[in-house]
C-alpha cells in the first residue's frame, strides 16, 4: 500500500484553466503539506494542515487553495493557471505531538508534474 498517494501523476493543461491535485495518506498522520519543486529542483513549502486546520500558508497566490476534508486528505486546487505554475507538486505528511512520535519527519508522495502550456 502506498503511504502517501497523489493523483494525477502528470497533468498537462492550458493557461487559464482550473485544475486540482488530490493527496491521501494512510499513515495515520495528522499533519499534511504541499511543496512545490521548480525546474531547478528547489523545494518550497506552500501549505500545511494539522487536523484539518491551516497552520502554514506561505506567500502563495490566492489562485492556490488547499482543502482538507479530513486529516487523511489534502487537496490542492489551482485557478487560472499560469505558465509559472509549471512544476512538480509534492504532498507530504508527518505525525505531530513531539519528536518522539516523529514530528517533522516527512513522508512524501511521488509528486504530480503540472505542465501549463
Amino acid at each position: 500500500d502506498t503511504a502517501v498517494s497523489q493523483t494525477p501523476k502528470y497533468l498537462v493543461t492550458q493557461m487559464g484553466n482550473d485544475k486540482s491535485i488530490k493527496c491521501e495518506q494512510n499513515l495515520g498522520h495528522d499533519t499534511m503539506y504541499w511543496y512545490k519543486q521548480d525546474s531547478k529542483k528547489f523545494l518550497k513549502i506552500m501549505f500545511s494542515y494539522n487536523n484539518k486546520e491551516l497552520i502554514i500558508n506561505e506567500t502563495v497566490p490566492n489562485r492556490f487553495s488547499p482543502k482538507s476534508p479530513d486529516k487523511a486528505h489534502l487537496n490542492l486546487h489551482i485557478n487560472s493557471l499560469e505558465l509559472g505554475d509549471s512544476a512538480v507538486y509534492f504532498c507530504a505528511s508527518s505525525a505531530s505531538g513531539g519528536l518522539v512520535s516523529g514530528a517533522n519527519v516527512l513522508t512524501f508522495g511521488a509528486g504530480s508534474r503540472l505542465t501549463v502550456l
Binding site: 513549502i45 513531539g98 512524501f108
Partner: protein, 114 residues
C-alpha cells in the same frame, strides 16, 4: 528564520570512491536537521535525521552525517558509493516543536560514474 546552504550543486564521483555532500545551516535557535534523497522521477525519501544526542547519525544505504554546532554544519558522507546512489540529495532544517515547517537546501546532484 532558518536557512540551509548546500555548497555544491553537483558532485561527480567514481564508483567505490568516498563522498561528502556539504550542508551548512543558519538559525538563531536550536534546530533539527535532515537529509533526504530524491531518485529520478520519484518523491523524497528520508536518509537520516539529527534531533538530539550523538552528533554522528547513521542512516539508510550506508550514509552517515555529523552535526557540528560550532561550524553550523551537517555534512553527509558515504565511504564507498555505488552507481545506484546517483540521485539528488537535499539537506533540510526544522525548528521542531510546534513548528512544522521544513526548509530545504537547493539540493546536490550526486552522479556516480563507473
Amino acid at each position: 528564520a532558518q536557512s540551509v546552504t548546500q555548497l555544491d550543486s553537483q558532485v561527480p564521483v567514481f564508483e567505490e570512491a568516498p563522498v561528502e555532500l556539504r550542508c551548512n545551516y543558519s538559525s538563531s535557535v536550536s534546530v533539527y536537521l535532515f537529509w533526504y534523497v530524491q531518485y529520478p522521477n520519484q518523491g523524497l525519501q528520508l536518509l537520516l535525521k539529527y534531533l538530539s544526542g550523538s552528533t554522528l547519525v547513521k542512516g539508510i544505504n550506508g550514509f552517515e552525517a555529523e552535526f557540528n554546532k560550532s561550524q553550523t554544519s551537517f555534512h553527509l558522507r558515504k565511504p564507498s558509493v555505488h552507481i545506484s546512489d546517483t540521485a539528488e540529495y537535499f539537506c533540510a532544517v526544522s525548528l521542531g516543536g510546534s513548528n512544522y515547517k521544513l526548509t530545504f537546501g537547493k539540493g546536490t546532484l550526486l552522479t556516480v560514474n563507473p
